[in-house]
Structure formats: structure tokens, C-alpha cells
């Protein structure tokens, strides 16, 4: 089959990626700037026999996708800041009960209702720590529509592999911008399907006993294995337990299955890093402006480079440290008050060389904004 060429919004690129990955079930509640995802899926999903439901709020949307995932469906919801806040309790449930699901947060300005139709990247830390309790999580982002497509497919693959929720942190500019998208023919990008147990009926199945490779084979609700799923600490059958060994073992497992695979989960792109004296670290829409500055300055012989992060959590500390080792300056370009900058600072050998180029007024950070800050950082005056 031929690839199909489209001219779409980033939100639609996300929809294309989800459908390519095999999305079966979507539940959501309208909110700017993510609404196009729900609208589009209400049209597209039933065409392939999938299910779409508009729930009464984001709490129930998140709960519904978890329920659907347990029957073996590939599931997703999409929202923005206020809705993402409402989802936090059940997001933690999906972490605890190890239920694959994808949550798209097309970021807008917060806190509270904030600035709904304008860009922000202010939910990076919320994605990491929004739900209560110690845990680990995967969060990914992208700056172009082709990458949004790819990373969405990837998000489904990762969520199935690690039995974990994966958060897609898009932003208003990427979500609403229109550009070209090439949807590859089916089969071009490998899909990872849910690992299902090989235990036959009557054999004691342990839904929470990891195999040697760390993966946990699942059994669909409605199948031949009846087991318990709970948000309480639980044993390998899924039954509640407050045995200290069980509690400790489970929290270690939940954290380690992500943190032991940081480099495997890391997705990033690099531009001119080899000899770069100044490296910009950016992600999402901000990386578009950063890339523009890098490319235009390179023409003039300036040694600028860009490290574009696509996996934000788990934070790829080692990769950031190594890539930035020889840079004189590191400029983190983002649209918040320095959420990723703090992570970069704690990753690199010398935090003193890390600077922030940001914008938090709802207006997209432009190459000129970045250039102005660059002058200061490089000691060329204000």
C-alpha cells in the first residue's frame, strides 16, 4: 500500500498515529485545545468498529479507558490542563494496577482555567508528579506532525510493553498548526501487541508476576482467567496485601520497570551537536524556534546545536549529560518558568553553564526571542 499524504493539524496527526497503532476505544470530554482529537475520533473510530464515548467529565473518561483496556482494547483519552488535573487520581490507579493506556494532554496556559487558547508547556512536572504517591511514569512529546504521528504510535507500543500509562504532552501550537503528514502504509512501523498469558484455563494465572524479562503477561476481562484488579497494594494475584515485603516489592517494581530502562525509553533528536559550543535543549513547539535559530546561525559559522527531547519522563539524564559535556553554554528553551531547565541542571556536570530561554505570556516563543537571550548568554550584551 502507498503512504498517504495529508495536510492536517497536530491533533489530527495524533489521531492518525493512534489509529495506526490500533486504537479501539476512546473516552473524553471536550476541552480546548484538544477537542479536535475527540471530534475526529467520534467520526473515525466507529468506521473501524471501534468505540467512542463522550463522558460526563475527565474523571470518568480516564476511568472508562482503564475499564476498556482491561478487556484487551487499546485505549486513549485526550484533554488539556484542567482535565488533566481531574484525571490524576485514576492515572495513579493505572500506574498501580499496571494498565496500558495513552493520555494526551495538549497543554495550554495554567494554572486554573488559565489561558485556554494559547500555548504553554507548564504541565511537565505535573505529568511527572501529578498523581499522589511515589511512582514512575512515561511522558513524551514532539515538535512536528510527522513526529507527533511517530511518537503516538510509540506511546502505544511503550504502554503495552511496560503495562503503564503513557502521557503525550503536546502543546497548543503543535496541536493546532497545520502541516504535511505522511501516513506510512500499515506494517511500516512495527506495532507491539499486548503480551497475553499462555496459561490455559484451570492453570493458576498470576496477573502481577513479572516474567524474567520484566514483562507481565495479561489476560482479558471476560477471558478464562478471573482475577482481581485493585488500587491497593496487592500480591501477584492482584489481591490486597499490607505485607511489608509485598508493599516494598511492588513499589520497587513500579519504579524500577521504568527507571531501569531510561535509555531504552529515551527518544530525542540531535542537530549539529558534534562541535557545538552552545547547545539548546528544547522540546515540543519551542524546539521549532530553537531549530530555526540553530540552522540560521550555522550558516554564519556559529557553533550552535540542538538537543530536542521527545521523552521527557523518565528524564534521560545520562544522555543529556553526555551530549552537553563539551558545550560552553546550554540554553534550555521552553514555555514555562524552567521545569525542564531544573532537570538539565541536575543532569549536567556544571549546572552553572545552564541558562533559560523562556516565554510565559501565552505567545509562542520566536527565534528572535531566543536570539535576544542568546546574546546575553554569550556575553554579547543586551
Amino acid at each position: 500500500m502507498e503512504k498517504s499524504v495529508k495536510f492536517v493539524q497536530g491533533n489530527e496527526a495524533c489521531v492518525e498515529g493512534a489509529l495506526y497503532a490500533g486504537l479501539d476505544f476512546f473516552a473524553g470530554y471536550p476541552i480546548t485545545p484538544s477537542t479536535e482529537i475527540a471530534e475526529s475520533l467520534s467520526f473515525r473510530l466507529p468506521k473501524k468498529g471501534g468505540k467512542f464515548i463522550q463522558m460526563e467529565d475527565e474523571i470518568s473518561s480516564m476511568c472508562a479507558i482503564i475499564g476498556a483496556s482491561l478487556t484487551g482494547s487499546k485505549v486513549m483519552t485526550a484533554t488539556s490542563g484542567p482535565g488533566f488535573s481531574l484525571m490524576q487520581e485514576s492515572l495513579g490507579y493505572a500506574v498501580m494496577a499496571e494498565i496500558p493506556c495513552v493520555i494526551v494532554n495538549v497543554q495550554r496556559g495554567g494554572p486554573s482555567t488559565g489561558i485556554p487558547t494559547h500555548i504553554s508547556q507548564g504541565d511537565v512536572m505535573q505529568a511527572r508528579w501529578g498523581t499522589h504517591g511515589d511512582h514512575s511514569i512515561v511522558a513524551m512529546t514532539a515538535s512536528t506532525h510527522q513526529d507527533v504521528f511517530d511518537i503516538t504510535v510509540d506511546a502505544f507500543n511503550i504502554s503495552e510493553t511496560y503495562r503503564t500509562p503513557v502521557i503525550l504532552l503536546l502543546d497548543e501550537v503543535v496541536g493546532h498548526l497545520r502541516e504535511r503528514l505522511d501516513v506510512p502504509p500499515p506494517g511500516d512501523i512495527p506495532l507491539i501487541e499486548r503480551l497475553r498469558t499462555s496459561c490455559s484455563e484451570g492453570i493458576d494465572y498470576h496477573p502481577y508476576l513479572p516474567r524474567e524479562d520484566g514483562r507481565l503477561p495479561m489476560s482479558d476481562f471476560g477471558g478464562v482467567h478471573r482475577f482481581n484488579v485493585t488500587g491497593l497494594y496487592h500480591d501477584m494475584w492482584g489481591f490486597p496485601s499490607d505485607n511489608p515485603g509485598v508493599v516494598q516489592g511492588l513499589i520497587r517494581h513500579l519504579v524500577d520497570k521504568i527507571q531501569n530502562n531510561v535509555n531504552l525509553l529515551a527518544r530525542y533528536k540531535e542537530y549539529h551537536l558534534e562541535d557545538a559550543e552552545c547547545i539548546m535543549v528544547s522540546y515540543g513547539a519551542s524546539a521549532r524556534s530553537a531549530l530555526h535559530v540553530v540552522e540560521s546561525r550555522r550558516v554564519r559559522g556559529e557553533k550552535l546545536g540542538l538537543l530536542e527531547l521527545q521523552t521527557l519522563w523518565p528524564f534521560p539524564e545520562q544522555i543529556v549529560r553526555e551530549k552537553c559535556r563539551n558545550a560552553k553554554h546550554i540554553l534550555v528553551v521552553e514555555m514555562n518558568t524552567g521545569q525542564v531547565m531544573e532537570m538539565v541542571k541536575s543532569s549536567v556536570d556544571d549546572p552553572g553553564k545552564v541558562f533559560l530561554a523562556n516565554k510565559v505570556d501565552g505567545i509562542f516563543i520566536s527565534p528572535t526571542d531566543i536570539r535576544n537571550i542568546l546574546r546575553v548568554v554569550q556575553g554579547k550584551g543586551v
Binding site: 479501539d24 476505544f25 473516552a27 467520526f43 466507529p46 468506521k47 468498529g49 468505540k51 464515548i53 463522558m55 460526563e56 467529565d57 474523571i59 470518568s60 473518561s61 476511568c63 472508562a64 479507558i65 482503564i66 475499564g67 476498556a68 483496556s69 482491561l70 478487556t71 484487551g72 482494547s73 485505549v75 487520581e89 485514576s90 490507579y93 476481562f221 471476560g222 477471558g223 478464562v224 478471573r226 482475577f227 482481581n228 484488579v229 485493585t230 488500587g231 491497593l232 489481591f239 490486597p240
Partner: protein
Amino acid sequence: MAIKDYIRERFFPHMWCPGCGHGIILNNLLRAIENLGLKKNNIVMVSGIGCSARISGYVDFHTLHTIHGRALAFATGVKMSRPELNLIVPMGDGDALAIGGNHFIHAARRNINMTAIVMNNRIYGMTGGQYSPLSGYGTSATTAPYTNIDHDFDVVQLSVAAGATFVGRTTTYHVQQMVDILQKAITHHGFSVVEILTQCPTYFGRKNNAGDGVEMMKLYKDNTTSIGSKKKQENPDLIERGIFVQKELPEYCDEYKNIIARAKGK
């Protein structure tokens, strides 16, 4: 199949207090399921958080013990993905109608095929006796030391108004009626609500001088009557028991099948 084949025996004795009504509901729910001859693999029980919600741990079905108030939302996802499964959703009164009240009315409005059981003990048992939206005016609770000024819902009227197509009420004293109503609710094709008045002697009983479990059940005998009975006409304060609504309307998952057909036709 014998009742004991429906339970996870190793978790007994259960965690409920002596005299608690929740165990009576478990027993009679299983009798209803046994009478219907449902296959264990075809039943998904979804519960929230509360003493009542612990019911799902004791039954040998697919069981989903979720978070406080959201059981019906989780159940909606399960049901839409696998409409052929029987969904049973037992909830406490706080679970179903305080934190979960919004999901309750919307699930009823959609007429999605599942059975919501409101285990109404008029108190928050699990957290130690605070008032619930079902406690009622003038009752006492650990958070109503000067008596409660909140008025309660009528679960039956609320369910009917929200669009439930099957609505019944019974008590832990009236166990034969409980089995009968539960059977009808489970076989009903649409959203069914069964309110079961159940005693919490430990908190509601103690706080309201209602006596122990047995005395509280005797109250259910004395304070309730069949729908439209002569006794009700003579004493309007009596609580009616029975099936209030039982009607066939298009069910949500069936309707969605039509949506799929329409979408594919386009």
C-alpha cells in the same frame, strides 16, 4: 453450581463487622446469580471504595476494585468494549451518590446495561461514621455532632428521574425479595438500580441509638412496606419496597452498534 463455588473461600471470614448488613447482600446476590445460572467468566464486578466495595474481593468473577465513587465510570468502559459481559456494580451510598453522584445519573441517563446496587447504610462506614447524602435530616454522625441538617436523596426517585429503566428497593431483612429483585435487575436489558437498605450497627446504629444489627433489621421490617400497600396509605412515612420501574428502552451498547453500522455505511 453451589454458592461456595462463586466465592474466593480463602478470604473468609470476611472483614465486615458482626451484624453488618453487607454480608447479607453478598449472600443473596450470589443466590440470585446462582438461580440465573450465570457463568463466572461472563460476570465482571466493579466496585469503588468503602466497606461495601470490599464485596468484589470475595467473589470469584472478574473483579475490578477501583477508586472512590467511580465504579460506574470504569464499568462503562468495560461494558462498551465487551457488551456481552454481565456488569454488576455494588456501591456504598457515599460511593454511589456523594462522590459518585454525577456518574450515577449519567450512567442511568445512557441506559447502559449494568446493575447498580446501592448498599445504603446511611453512613460512611469505612472512614468511621461521617454523614452521607443518605443519612437524612436530624441524624447523628461523627461529623454531625449537633445533628445533621443535610437532607437526603430518595434513591428511587433520583434513579427514575435520571432515566434508569429498572428501579427497585429492598432491605437486608427481606431476603427473598432481595433475591427476586436482583435476579430481575440482572436480567433487565438496560440500566438497573437496586437500592438495598443495609445496617451499619457499628456507626449508624451506635450514633443513632438504633441498636445492634438484629434490632436494625427489625426496624426495616417495621418501617417498610410493599409499594402501594394499604399500610402505606395509612402511614405515609413507611418506606416502600418493590420494583418501581421496569421498562424496555433502547440500550446504549445496542445503540452504539447502530452507530457503527451507520459509520461503516458512509
